[in-house]
Symmetry: C2
Subunit: 321 residues, 2 copies
């Protein structure tokens, strides 16, 4: 893969990630069927599946060239609409639909613009072929108040069911002014994100929520951090569940330290960290850089990352280091 002849041409090296979230984290047959729908698309690699029974939610990580990844996301969304009934769905995590959110993420040298275009294309198709309301969000948002998922999801599916037909501010970007049992779907584009949880040795949900409030950007905390407090399967363990939207601005190490400090103020110990899905190499290398006092250490220090760049032909093969 690393030779000049084997390397991809530049047009073939556009690589995107899609991390759709589905409102099913319990029934294995339903999760398998949704995953299989995505995995059936040639050229789209399903790299990871993360399910959480308490959130009643599954996250797939799909990567590959834009066309196949868009197709895989669409097919999984179609399958989820057949198999998931929001009327029967209960879970800790807020959601508006069977396929709750479909983010496209540029990898390597791929542009954000390409992901915005993909989001619009896939969003239009979901509305047209599945008859679902679609909201564009993130970099693909059609208006500022729809950029952030927490704003978009306020009141969740239940609010859309009662208000979508009558409340003009809820009008979707594509699709009908009503929801069925598959709810609505947010489709968007964003930078790579680290979905990161820290568990706490407490059975008091209000402490997890207070810590989340203290560290999230929207209530004056750390930049590019979204956080919520959640229960876990263990009643004696609560969780601060975070989206780190830009670990180059707010590194994981800082987030962990702040959660630990806030927890200590409540007399609570931090138990452990957990990733939901995968993290870009840069985020984890940055943790290692700080922990071992590297002056300079980036993702290119990882052998596999460098090889991937060669394998993808993103760099000229045999270029000087």
């Amino acid at each position: 893969m690393v030779s000049r002849s084997d390397s991809q041409t530049s047009s073939a090296t556009s690589l995107v990630e899609c991390v759709p979230n589905f409102s099913e984290g319990v029934r294995p047959d339903v999760m398998d069927a949704i995953q299989a729908a995505a995995a059936g698309v040639r050229g789209a690699a399903v790299l990871d599946r993360h399910a959480d029974a308490v959130h009643n939610r599954m996250v797939l990580t799909i990567a590959g060239p834009p066309g196949p990844v868009a197709e895989a996301a669409f097919r999984a969304t179609a399958r989820a609409a057949q198999l998931i009934d929001l009327e029967a769905h209960r879970g800790e995590h807020p959601r508006i639909g069977a396929t709750d959110v479909v983010p496209f993420v540029p990898l390597g040298t791929t542009s954000m613009q390409l992901c915005v275009e993909l989001a619009v294309r896939v969003g239009r198709r979901i509305a047209a072929e599945l008859d679902l309301p679609v909201y564009l969000y993130g970099e693909a948002a059609s208006r500022p108040e729809r950029r952030r998922l927490p704003d978009l999801r306020r009141g969740e599916y239940e609010r859309l069911r009662s208000h979508l037909a009558v409340e003009p501010s809820l009008a979707p970007d594509f699709g009908p002014n009503r929801v069925g049992s598959a709810g609505a779907t947010a489709v968007g584009a964003r930078r790579p994100l680290v979905a990161y949880n820290v568990t706490l040795a407490t059975g008091d949900l209000s402490i997890a929520r207070a810590i989340a409030r203290a560290i999230r950007e929207s209530s004056g905390g750390l930049p590019a951090v979204q956080a919520r407090g959640f229960r876990t399967a263990d009643p004696k363990v609560m969780q601060v569940s975070m989206n780190l939207l830009d670990t180059s601005r707010t590194p994981m190490t800082l987030v962990f330290e702040r959660v630990r400090q806030e927890a200590a103020q409540h007399g609570v110990e931090v138990l452990e960290s957990e990733l939901v899905g995968m993290a870009p190499a840069a985020a984890l290398v940055d943790v290692a850089r700080q922990a071992l006092q590297f002056r300079r250490l980036d993702a290119d220090a990882i052998l596999e990352t460098r090889l991937l760049e060669h394998a993808l032909g993103a760099l000229e093969p045999n270029s000087l280091a």
Copy 2:
């Protein structure tokens, strides 16, 4: 790269790394010429070059399928033999030849046996075509006392010059019983290694050496750690330079902590960490795992690593996670 049709067949996925060390870390034209000799081989990717003027040494990281990587290693060795005169070479780092050591390292699912065979083949060729004494080492060693490089390099080039012809224990595995100005070369196979330095805020070389003694396996320290004390370009900064032969046994975090503790006992502060070349993802992810108290975190948590596996076809594309 991630589709079934684009993925490599299993015979094409054997991937090896070669990390040859050359006794030149000062003259850019010589370093460029050696690097260019390796980079000129189609299919071999020169991923990294690390040069150190004080060590007077350059390390290339080459990766790709076995054939091209072996060819690149041979060509670089041939070029170094033309351009480097050991009689004129001075440096902090011990060495026996212009091309001092040529290790082959299995990547991904490649077997150690393949790398041993590569080492024997390339070693034979260096002896036959370049008329250099070649010692097999590491997993390719022909006798136990040649497994470890520090043993093989004892007395360095100068000892070989004076004793090779008369001392039977110095007889090379391949090639002549004499050295010319290009010295001898150790060719071998080993597991992935992390070349890792920690700098110290002291001008006292004996402290760096004492710390190295305290932490290296050969004097009763940490398993799978080789260490030496060195000067740096800054007379007020000394360095503990290490090879971590198995970070799954002795993680980087532990090594750093032990160096810090030992330094503290001498009243010396640790300045920073430095990688020589690259590290496998597993070694750095392990640092992040410990720093942020992840219960479970391995190289597969890195998006790029997972993508590489798909790109290399090492996994069945679209397999369930």
